[in-house]
Symmetry: C2
Subunit: 273 residues, 2 copies
C-alpha cells in the first residue's frame, strides 16, 4: 500500500482531513503528567486514544523530543510504536525538516522510516533532488518537501523572483514535474499564505499538501480550503498542533482535545460538500 | 568566550585548520569494535585521543547517530561529553542541517547546545532569518548557515538566478549583512566548488567558513585554500570525515587516522605561509 492509498483510506473511514501535530512540549503538558518520566508518551497516548476516529494522520515534530536528547527520542519512539500497534491504519508523519548530502541522508531515512516506523517525513529542498535520493527512492513512503512554510519570515528566500517566478513556485514545479517519479511526493504549504496555496495548487495538480498553520498560527480554515482543495475536494492534510493538544491543561485535556478536533473536522468538511 | 575566539585559540595552539568529521557510520567502523554496544563512542574516543593535537574542531553529523535512534543519540552525547571534559578547548560543531519555524527551533537549540553541549550547529536557510532567531540570538554559540553545499546536485536551487545573482550568493549576503548582528554566523561552502567559494569570500569578507568536501568527496586542498582564505590567511574550517576516520579498518585505525590528519594539516598549512 502506498502512503497515498493509506491516507485516502483513513480520510474516507474517519471522514476527516485533520492531522494532529503531536508537538508535546514538556513544559506545556498538564502539570499532573509533567513529573512522570514517561510524560510525553502518556500525554500522546491519551490524545491519540481520544482522537483516533477523527484524524487522517498524526504528525509529531521531532524537535519537541530531541530537546530532551535520547530520553526524548525514546518518548517519540514509544508514541510511534503505540500508533502502529493500536491504530495501524493511521499514517505517521515525522515533521523533521531534514536534508543532507546523499550518503548522509541514509541515516535520517533510517531514523524516520526504520527506527520510528513512520509513513512520511518532511524535508528541506535547498540541497536539491539529487541529495534526497535516499528518500525519493522509497516508493512505500511519503516524501513531503517544504515549499511555502507557515512562518512570518518565509518570504525572505521563498519569494525571491527567478525570471518573475518566486522560488516557492520553482520548488513546487520541480517536485511535481521532476522529483515525483515514484508518486510519493507531497508539499508543505502553510495555511497562513492562502494566495500562495492557490497558486501551488495549480502547479501541483492533485498532489496532496501538508498544511500547517491553522490553529495557534492563525491560518483561516475557509480560505485554506477554498484555495487548497484539489479536484476531488481533498488533497489536504490540515494539521493543527497546539490548538488541539493544549486545549486544556487540566485532567480533561484529552476530552477537550477531542472537542476541538471534532469542531475542526466539521468546519473543514463544511467546505467539501 | 565567543565561538570565534575559541576557534582562533585552538587553530593557533594546534597550528591547524583541520576539522575531523566524526561521521562514524556503524557499518564502516572496524570489525573488532562493531559488536560492542558502545562501538561508536569507543571508535570516536580513539580517533579523538589520536588527533586532539591536530585539529581546530570536531564535527559529528547527527544523522550517523540518529539512524540507531535513542541508543545512537546516547553515543553522540557520550562523544560530546568526552570532548568537553578531556579537551575542552576544542570546539564541537554539530552538523545537523536543521531549521523549523521559530518556536520549534527552541527544541533543536536545546538538543545541540544544552543536551549535547556543542559550540556550533549547521542550519538550513530556506525558512529565513526570522525563523532562526532562537539560534541567531545565542551570542555564545556558532550559527553556520548552508550557503553552497558540497553535493553534485547543489546547483538545482542554489544556482537559480535572482536578478543575475545565484541564490547561494543571496544567502551569503543576507547572512553577512543582516543575520550576523551577534557576530556568531558562519557559512557552509563546499570544497567541491572553488569558484563559488572565491565569490562567497568576497561577499562575506573575513567571516569563517565551514568547508566540507575535501577527502572522500574529492575537493582539492590547493584550490580551496587559494579561493577561500580570508585576509588573515585563515577563516576556514577544513573538514574531512571518511578519508581520516576510515583510513584503516584494522586495529591501527586511530594511528592511520592520525597520519592522514597530519598530512592534511601540513598540506593546508603549506598554503598559509
Amino acid at each position: 500500500m502506498t502512503i497515498q492509498q493509506k491516507l485516502d483510506a483513513i480520510a474516507a473511514k474517519n471522514n476527516s482531513l485533520v492531522s494532529i501535530g503531536l508537538d508535546s512540549d514538556i513544559s506545556k503538558i498538564p502539570l499532573h503528567l509533567q513529573q512522570n518520566p514517561d510524560a510525553q508518551f502518556l500525554f500522546n497516548k491519551a490524545i491519540i486514544n481520544a482522537t483516533h476516529d477523527l484524524v487522517c494522520a498524526y504528525k509529531p515534530n521531532s524537535a519537541f523530543y530531541e530537546g530532551a536528547g535520547a530520553k526524548g527520542i525514546e518518548q517519540l519512539k514509544r508514541t510511534c510504536d503505540y500508533i502502529q500497534h493500536t491504530y495501524p491504519d493511521i499514517p505517521i508523519i515525522i515533521d523533521a525538516k531534514r536534508a543532507d548530502i546523499g550518503n548522509t541522508n541514509v541515516g535520517y531515512a533510517d531514523y524516520v522510516f526504520t527506527y520510528l516506523g513512520a509513513d512520511a517525513v518532511t524535508l528541506q529542498p535547498f540541497l536539491g533532488g539529487e541529495a534526497l535520493k535516499p528518500f525519493l527512492d522509497r516508493k512505500d513512503k511519503g516524501v513531503i518537501i517544504l515549499c511555502r512554510t507557515s512562518n512570518p519570515g518565509a518570504h525572505e528566500f521563498q519569494d525571491l523572483l527567478i525570471e518573475q517566478k518566486p522560488l516557492y513556485q520553482i520548488v513546487a514545479e520541480r517536485v511535481a514535474n521532476s522529483w515525483n517519479k515514484n508518486d510519493n511526493c507531497m508539499l508543505v504549504v502553510g495555511a497562513t499564505y492562502p494566495e500562495e496555496l492557490k497558486i501551488v495548487r495549480t502547479i501541483a495538480r492533485d498532489m496532496t499538501f501538508l498544511v500547517p498553520g491553522i490553529g495557534a498560527q492563525g491560518g483561516n480554515v475557509e480560505q485554506t480550503m477554498k484555495a487548497g482543495m484539489n479536484s476531488k475536494k481533498s488533497g489536504l492534510i490540515m494539521n493543527a498542533g497546539r490548538s488541539i493538544i493544549f486545549a486544556s491543561n487540566g485532567e480533561d485535556f484529552d476530552q477537550k482535545a477531542r472537542e476541538v478536533a471534532i469542531a475542526l473536522r466539521d468546519e473543514i468538511n463544511s467546505f467539501r460538500i
